[in-house]
Every structure is written in structure tokens, then in C-alpha cells.
Amino acid sequence: MTHTLSETIQGNRKLAFIARNWAAFFLLGFLILFSFTGKGFLSVTNFQNVGHLAVIAILMASAETFVIITSGIDLSIGFVMGFSSVTAGKIIQILYAAGGGISPGISIAIGIVIVLILSLIPGLVSGVLIARYKVPPFIATMGMWGITNGIALKICKGFPVATLPEVLTRIGNGYIIYIKPGGGISFFSLPHGVGNESIREYIRLIPYSFIFVGLILLVLWHLLRNTTFGQHTYAIGGNEEAAVRAGINVKLHLVKIYILSSFIAGLAGIFNVFQTGIGNFTPFGAMYELFAVSAVVIGGASLMGGKGSIFGSVIGVFLIAFLENGLLISGVVPFYRFIAVGLLLIIAVVIDQLFPDLL
């Protein structure tokens, strides 16, 4: 029955197109719906806010996309992010407090470089465990999940790392364009002499975070879509045995995949420091990794591997983000978010079952 139904639907090209891009159509539908139900939903400010707050989720989902295409899963990214955030915070804090001619810029740069290098390690460990010792990805990355969180909490002693240079949030939450209605335009910051208290009088456009996440997405999209690295990622997820027989170094590739995932989580941690101005450990209830997996699956990937795309995953993130934002603005209690994400996941899986030949 299911089979004939899927055949009927596949016979219809228009329907197949909609099914293939159902998440994008749902997103469009929600945007229209919330424009009516939520006051202030349909505005540049709100959309920029949703995007700005979704940056970490987008990075997480992109990391998870690569892993899921190889039919793996990375549960550690949420805590790798926390580890990266508190470690960067701690390094910057120490250097900044030490003074002695180290400018805030230098201490931030040193913190970033060290943390980006450190963030490769959890991925290297899980990757080697998975590729070399055949540990299931779920277990290997759950090991890193615990270890990175433990180390993060040890470093920050259970409190956010504060008293960091103020320039962090100015960059992290800054915009390229500031316009005062009827009063002129300024770039990269408020005009001289204008204090933060009057920031609400300005229309702010294009957050730096969009440039940051946009560049990363462009690189990752290119990597997955146009390079042999991406091609081999799909091949491993589609038929690992075939990839081996085709001469692809599958073990090395898997190690690279988990290192990449961990590295992107590290970038998210650094962004987190810029966004909040402090080094944050990841609370247990945050479940970044599970929301990332949800977004990736909603965006058309399959946990069986072999399919998925950066674009789809970003759509998945925005579907969840706008749903949350729209419900909130429309006055719906926030816990409906979980129900909504659950329903979307079920839809995603059902569509994946009905349209196995797509993509």
C-alpha cells in the first residue's frame, strides 16, 4: 500500500518537487501564518534577531550534516562548543588581566587560535575510535560528550568566565550599517559620541554574525558539493564497501569528518564568546546536538547516510527557529516548541520513507 502510494506520488512531478522541498514550503507557510498572528513578526529587526540567534544552531547543524551523511552521528558538538567557549574565555581573561602590554585584540586572537587547535582533538579522538577501532559513532562521541563537558566545567569551575574585553560583544553583536531615520547613516558602529543607550533610535542592518556564518556556510557548501572530499562523504554514506573498493581511504576520511565536525563546534564556541561576552559552559538541558540532528533530518538527510545538504540543514534550522520565534510572538507558551519539533521530525521521516529515490 505504502509502495503504490509512493509510486503514485512520484509519478506526479509537481507533487514530488513539493515533497522534496517540503521543509522550505513549511517554512514559507509558517512565515506567512505568523505574519498575521504575531505583531512585529514580519520585520527586518525580528528576522535579523532570529538569524543572529540561530548562528550557533546553523553551525551545529552544518557540522552534523557531514557526519550524518556518512551515516554517523556526533553527540559531542554541544559540549565541544561549551569547552571551546570557556577555554577561549579563560585564555582571554588571563591574558587580558595580566596586562603588561597585551592588548585586548592580541589576547582575543591568541585565545581564538589556541581554542581552534584544541577543538580538533575531540574529533580526532572520536574519529580514530570510530574508523580504526570500529567503535559505533554514538558511543565514541558520547564518550567525548562527557569528557569535553567535564573538562569545560573543570576549567570554569561551574561558573561562566566573565570580565572579558568589552570589544568582544561590540564585534559579536555589531552591525555593518546604522541608520538614524532622518538623521544620516554610519558604518560599522554608532556615530562618534553616541552612547549605547540611544541604540534603539537606530535602524541596524546586516549583523557581522551574518557575514561570519555566511562565509563558513559558503566554504562548507563548496566542500560538500563541489569537491572530491564531499563526493567521498556521500559515497561512504551510500555504500561504504563500494567506497573502499573504489580506492577511497575510508578510515582517514572518517577521521577528517569528525575533526571537521569538532572544529565547527569550536568555531561556534568562539562565536558564543563574541555574542555573549563571556565564556559559557553548555548546560545539560541545551541539547544543541539533538536540535542539530533534528534540523539536519528535517532538512532532508537520512540517519542511514548518503543524503543531506548544507542548504537543507540551514532550512531545517530556520524552520525550528522561526517556529519558536513565531509561537512566542503569537503568545503561545514556549514548551510547544518541543511538540512542534517532534511533529516536524515525524513528517521528515515519513516523507523520507515515501520518497526513497529522491535527491
Partner: protein, 249 residues
Amino acid sequence: MEYLVETKNITKRFGGLTAVNKVSFGVQAGEIVAVLGDNGAGKSTLIKMISGVHQPDGGQIFVQGKEVEIHSPMDALSMGIETIYQDLALAENMNVYSNIFLGREKTKKVLGLFNVMDSQYMFDESQGVLDKLNIQIPSLRNNVRTLSGGQRQAVAISRSIYWNAKFLIMDEPTAALGVAQQKLVLDLVKSLKDHGLGIIIISHQMHDVFAVADRIIVMRRGEKVGDLKKEGTNPDEVVNLIVGSESVV
């Protein structure tokens, strides 16, 4: 005429069991040799020593007259020996030309900086090899998952041909295929002779064997009990050899 691939007294033991016992045979370029035998007769083990999956315990293997040691499937590939597997070494989630170029993707430089895959080149080359072998595939941009079993076999074979295979090993190439699909694959196999390939086919289907093979080798209990030209034999004689009521070497 010199053999493309030849074995001399090749032997493989698994513990106390002698799976293949001193088997000597050869395959010439442009020749299709079928290996027949009951289950456990040693056909697969014999073939796997040539494809590099098993290493022989005794005897020699010659490729184009030179003695070689084949330690792994990669070794075999580098000598031009390709195996078309029953379960098909294709990534079903990828399109036809990506499969043909899998692991050996053609790249080009963009802006003198980035290496990107040259899809158009891979598409054109794949179309070329399919045309050469007279294989019809609806679109090379379709995923392999959408192809029939016979078409998938054809894609796997085309890949070997494109990458200059000289010697093909086919394990039950028509198993699990419909009648029309079987014909497609058998016709393709026959046409490969004209391209100068040597081919070994393992099959249970007597009809297939007589349709394509030039020579038939019969294995029983690890030993070669028959090496017959197709013209000089008939299915009855071959069956008798397989089950062991006579022996002709």
C-alpha cells in the same frame, strides 16, 4: 598463444581443508572462460586468489606471462584485474557518472585556487564509454538506485572498462536478474570479447554458460576435473562432471 592470466598448481588450504588443490588453468585475451562446480567445489576460492582476496598457499599466478604475487584487491586492480561483485560495488545514492569516476574523480582548478570536480568531463567520458559498449541508460544524472539490476551490472562493467581493465572476474553476473536483464548483461559480456578482454564467469546457470563461454572449467572438491571447449561438449557432460560420474581432463 600466451595467456592473459594463468595459474599453475595453485593451492589454498583453510586449516585441514584443501579448498583448491593444484589447479592450473589460463585465460587468453578475448576469451570467456566459465568456471562451474557444485557448492563448495572451490570455484569462489580459486577466483578470490586471482582477485587478491585470498593468498595462495602454493603454486604460481602469471599475468601476461610474468609471475606475480597478488596481496590485495588493490594489487589486482593495479594489474588490470577487476572483479564485478554480485552485490555490486556501486553507491546507490549517487548518479551514474559519479559512480564510474568514484575514487578517481576528475577535478579542475577554478580561479587558479580551488579544486572542484569537473562534472561535465565525467559526464561526457561516461557517456562515451556507455556508447562504446552500446549500453542504454535513461540519464547519467539519475541515481544508480533508480536503475534496474541489469543496468547496474552494465554500469559496474563500464566502470571497469573505462579504467582499462584487461581481465574481468564476474561472480554470478545474472543471478537475481529478470530474463530481459540477463540477456542485456550476457550480450554485454559477449561484446567485451571484441575489446580484447579476458573474462572469467562463475555461474550456476548452464544456459548462461553455454550462451557466452568459449571454454568451460569444471571444479569438484577443490580439483579441476574438466577443461572443455564449448563446441566439444554439451550440458549433460558438464553436469556429469559437476556431480562426479566421469572425469575428462
